[in-house]
Symmetry: C2
């Protein structure tokens, strides 16, 4: 499968770059590009596909980068570092810009969910898709936006709409991941679910025991009360093991006290 | 509207608590509870609804907390601090635990999206819903899980499934926010979209100019080529302003060079 590319434009804080790498790997998105990262890039990591010189990141900053990635080093090692946004998007066919600012421009706007769905279709046709994210302080500039064909606005509190960089990247990667994967099973039981016959056996035994103990004060109330008890236990969607446990509970409660 | 409550169980790093506050406010989720935060809580902030004593957070740690919240101070100021998980969930009616661990228990598992949809229904019926998140290093324990009626598994890379605490909280808050808000308009044009008549005027003028300049080498090819040009511009979904600009472009290209 062709994966979308995450592009960080002039990122400032290595803590955020590391957190981006972790979020990407969490969501199985592995293609990271950086455009002129403020603190350079660790020597010997990543690729610089153009002739341009990328400054070496000082070791003490590189250590913070690695710590923030929390084990997602493979994303950083295969990252591609570019001097300019134009160079970074040169081989892409559909570029979405993630921005909260109201740029004086007209582009189709989408939600992360709609953009992820579109990206899944495009990559299935072997088209190369990229998602742009701007610098922490300012976001993408008008000049950056020219390189995008579509814009993505993350639904946000209008009074507090600025997402942390890694949080914004996570939301796009998460939507991509959810759009590409079948939903996981709703339930992963330790033990198989009980059959209706097993449930019936338990419920009949309980009802018989309650009858013997005089729980149903009138015969007229009995069907309604019995039905309500059944509803409660049915809603719990019990496993075979739980049915056995409840048989044990009934036995224990019925047991005569030892003298 | 009744909002869901975010509960952080024994959170360790104030950087994560601050980032949680920011992510919550981004998504208009404002109810935060903390269970026995490792470094205590800033004196004079938040509420301790029980008699228990919560240790005061040292000032230098409180500063890191505020910095990480990036302006989402109101979430921290109204947070409620509890000594135990049992006390923190006491008034809630539906508690979901977010966990990647395979607990030896059987609970209904859902995705964040399904849980958010269910939470929207429940809060609409005035039921109080909470989402539990465990400590960074270990996640929720078996004992913690007993306080939850449902479990949430975030779809993740099976080989790298541990999300940062604030990232996990963001995904739940984001799904809640998307589930409660109507999707934003697909497009926010600066200028109104052009009518089809305006598009037609532009396309006819372009076609006439191209005919005059001998662009269509054979009359037989003309309908197909003209149609393709129309398709390109139609796909761009131009605004009125853009149509005027393109009229200007045609005029400029047709202009005789000044001698």
């Amino acid at each position: 499968m062709i994966l979308p590319t995450i592009l960080l434009v002039r990122p400032q804080l290595v803590e955020n770059i590391g957190a981006v790498a972790r979020a990407m790997l969490n969501c199985e998105v592995t293609e990271l590009r950086l455009v002129a990262p403020r603190d350079g890039w660790p020597k010997g990591q990543g690729f610089t596909p153009t002739e341009a010189e990328i400054p070496a990141m000082p070791d003490w900053i590189a250590e913070r980068l690695t710590a923030a990635a929390s084990g997602a080093d493979e994303i950083l090692k295969r990252a591609r570092i570019f001097p300019s946004l134009a160079a970074a998007v040169a081989d892409l066919q559909m570029v979405y810009a993630t921005t909260a600012r109201d740029h004086a421009m007209v582009k189709p706007w989408s939600t992360p969910r709609a953009a992820a769905a579109a990206a899944v279709e495009k990559t299935a046709r072997a088209e190369r898709v990229g998602f742009l994210f701007g610098p922490e302080r300012t976001g993408l500039t008008h000049e950056d936006m020219v390189h995008a064909q579509g814009a993505i606005a993350i639904p946000a509190n209008p009074a507090f709409s600025s997402f942390n960089l890694a949080q914004a990247v996570l939301l796009l990667c998460y939507e991509w991941h959810v759009a590409t994967k079948p939903a996981p099973a709703e339930r992963l039981p330790e033990s198989p679910l009980a059959t209706q016959a097993e449930m019936d056996g338990l419920l009949q035994r309980l009802e018989a025991a309650l009858t013997a103990k005089g729980f149903f004060t009138t015969e007229a109330m009995r069907p309604t009360m019995a039905r309500n008890i059944r509803h409660t236990l049915q809603r719990a969607a019990m496993t075979e093991q739980e049915v056995r446990t409840w048989h044990g509970i009934i036995s224990a409660l019925l047991k005569k006290d030892e003298a």
